[in-house]
């Protein structure tokens, strides 16, 4: 009994540690005073200021545009790459997989710096395009790593059977392989999307001239000191993440129930 209580208490403490800073930010996003030391009445003015700030709206636009595009391109490239890698000989596979792991394992700062050198070297203006290229680059490996396990589980003979029955390779791919690997593809795409939204270090080195994503914007705001607009932004981001997770969770448990019913 005591042991059980201690366990729960420990969990409570860790969650307090994890959530206290976020909750403080949320509470103080409604604080009328700019200072964090004292409470000075409720207000929504930081939210209003946030949405009137053209800079931040532009930032959100770039963040989402880069995330959507980079995850889409990375998903296409990555899925194709996974299909190819899966059919490679052992030696080639090892070589390719090592290159694939490189951006995953390499510290972000090294990836960022190396890409910056590349862009400057070949004279690509640092901005939206360079940012997008960088994001696609670090996203592809994650898509590959999500799709490959699904391909391993796949029964290869099904595809050949489809071909024998007269399907074109593309038709066979669409009807036989794709349905089997689509969960991996979607996981990869989602992973790529979130990684892109959250990235700071690589973006920091590969963007320029008026293009910045949310992380870079927050970093520059935080360096300038405390800003209640950041609190408002945190609250909005936290709420949207919370909603997203609830939706995902419900869908997952519904799918699970469906699966169980079918069984």
């Amino acid at each position: 009994m005591v042991k059980n209580f201690l366990k729960k208490f420990y969990i409570f403490l860790v969650f307090l540690f994890l959530y206290a800073p976020i909750i403080v930010l949320i509470i103080f996003s409604f604080n009328n005073s700019k200072s964090r030391g004292h409470w000075d009445g409720l207000t929504l003015k930081w939210y209003i200021q946030l949405f009137q700030d053209p800079q931040i709206l532009k930032t959100i636009y770039y963040t989402l545009a880069v995330a959507v595009l980079s995850s889409l391109v990375a998903t296409i490239f990555g899925t194709a790459a996974a299909l190819g890698i899966d059919s490679m000989t052992r030696f080639r596979k090892t070589v390719v997989m090592n290159i694939t792991y490189l951006p995953v394992l390499n510290p972000d700062i090294v990836t960022g710096v190396s890409l910056m050198l590349l862009f400057v070297f070949v004279n690509i203006k640092l901005g939206f395009i360079s940012l997008l290229l960088a994001h696609i680059t670090f996203n592809i490996p994650y898509v590959i790593l999500s799709v490959l396990p699904k391909l391993k589980q796949l029964n290869k003979h099904l595809y050949e059977a489809a071909l024998d029955l007269g399907a074109t390779p593309f038709y066979a791919f669409k009807k036989v392989i794709l349905p089997e690997i689509i969960p991996g593809v979607i996981t990869g795409a989602l992973l790529a999307f979130t990684l892109s939204v959250d990235d700071f270090v690589i973006s920091f080195f590969t963007t320029g001239s008026g293009v910045s994503n949310l992380s870079i914007y927050i970093y520059s705001m935080a360096r300038r000191g405390i800003n209640p607009e950041i609190n408002a932004l945190s609250t909005l981001m936290f709420v949207s993440v919370l909603l997203l997770l609830i939706v995902v969770d419900r869908r997952m448990s519904r799918d699970k129930m469906k699966g169980e019913n079918r069984a």
Binding site: L18, L25, A80
Partner: protein
């Protein structure tokens, strides 16, 4: 299925955007520009071996190690509790646990800035209950705290997923054979969870040793870590050659420690990070 060709665009992409950039970093690290003339030289690496920069490297490793140890000490019991069979609503708790990770990590770091300030919330609270204020912001402790806060989930999740896979009958068998709970833990549970621990350590140590944001925001520009040094060389001082040499050193450090860790990991297929 003979469709190797579909991976060729990817291979070309990775050549251009991964291999070539790294070669560029190596090239820059091995050259110096003197009065417009570029020549090969090991001067950048020699410079790195000056005591002052070695100290920066050691400091980065030291802080990252401390954070890793704390994450392990805090995270292992947590993973055990979460994985224990009497814990109900596991999935919900895990979800709650990863939720803060979905927040932008700069926001999470920023949150600590507001808490730790001299006149921040923690000190306001302490003075309210008549305790002396704490001086935390812009110290080593603040940097370590920021690392623990940001990277704790990287430790807990792999350990948790390994612990959950341990066959409960193995533990029961050990108990039946007369082992007390400490022995069960030391001889059965802990050895079986080692792959999770190893990948947890790697996943905390790696980002901790290469960070420049946490030390910048919570260390007040006082605690130069190797990440800060690289950033400074590239964005403020403009010595890309030395910055490249530092990047190569960091890359070697990380890849070697990964390789060393991977030998222990064996067939563990990586924790569910997300």
């Amino acid at each position: 299925m003979k469709i190797k060709w579909v991976s060729y665009p990817y291979l070309v992409w990775m050549m251009i955007f991964v291999v070539v950039p790294l070669l560029l970093v190596i090239y820059f690290s091995l050259t110096i520009t003197d009065g417009g003339v570029t020549k090969f030289s090991l001067a950048n690496y020699e410079k790195f071996f000056e005591p002052i920069y070695i100290k920066v490297l050691l400091r980065s490793i030291y802080l990252a190690l401390i954070s890793t140890v704390f994450c392990l000490a805090l995270g292992y019991p947590l993973a055990m509790i979460l994985a224990s069979k009497e814990m109900s609503r596991k999935n919900f708790l895990i979800l709650l646990f990863v939720l803060p990770m979905w927040m932008n990590f700069l926001l999470r770091t920023y949150a600590w800035m507001t808490l730790l300030e001299r006149k921040g919330l923690i000190n306001t609270f302490l003075s309210y209950i008549n305790l002396p204020p704490l001086e935390i912001l812009y110290t080593n402790e603040a940097v370590v705290l920021g690392m623990i806060y940001n990277f704790l989930p990287f430790m807990v999740l792999p350990i948790y997923s390994v612990l959950r896979k341990i066959d409960p009958y193995v533990i029961e068998a050990a108990e039946d054979l007369g082992a007390n709970s400490l022995t069960v833990f030391l001889k059965v549970i802990f050895p079986l969870s080692l792959p999770g621990v190893v990948s947890g350590i790697t996943m905390v140590f790696m980002p901790a040793v290469s960070t420049f944001v946490i030390s910048r925001l919570l260390g007040g520009g006082q605690f130069t870590l190797i990440g800060n040094l690289i950033e400074q060389q590239f964005l403020t001082v403009g010595d890309w050659n030395f910055g490249s040499a530092l990047s190569i050193v960091m890359m070697i450090l990380i890849l070697f420690s990964m390789a060393a860790m991977a030998r222990y990991e064996k067939d563990y297929e990586g924790g569910g990070l997300w």
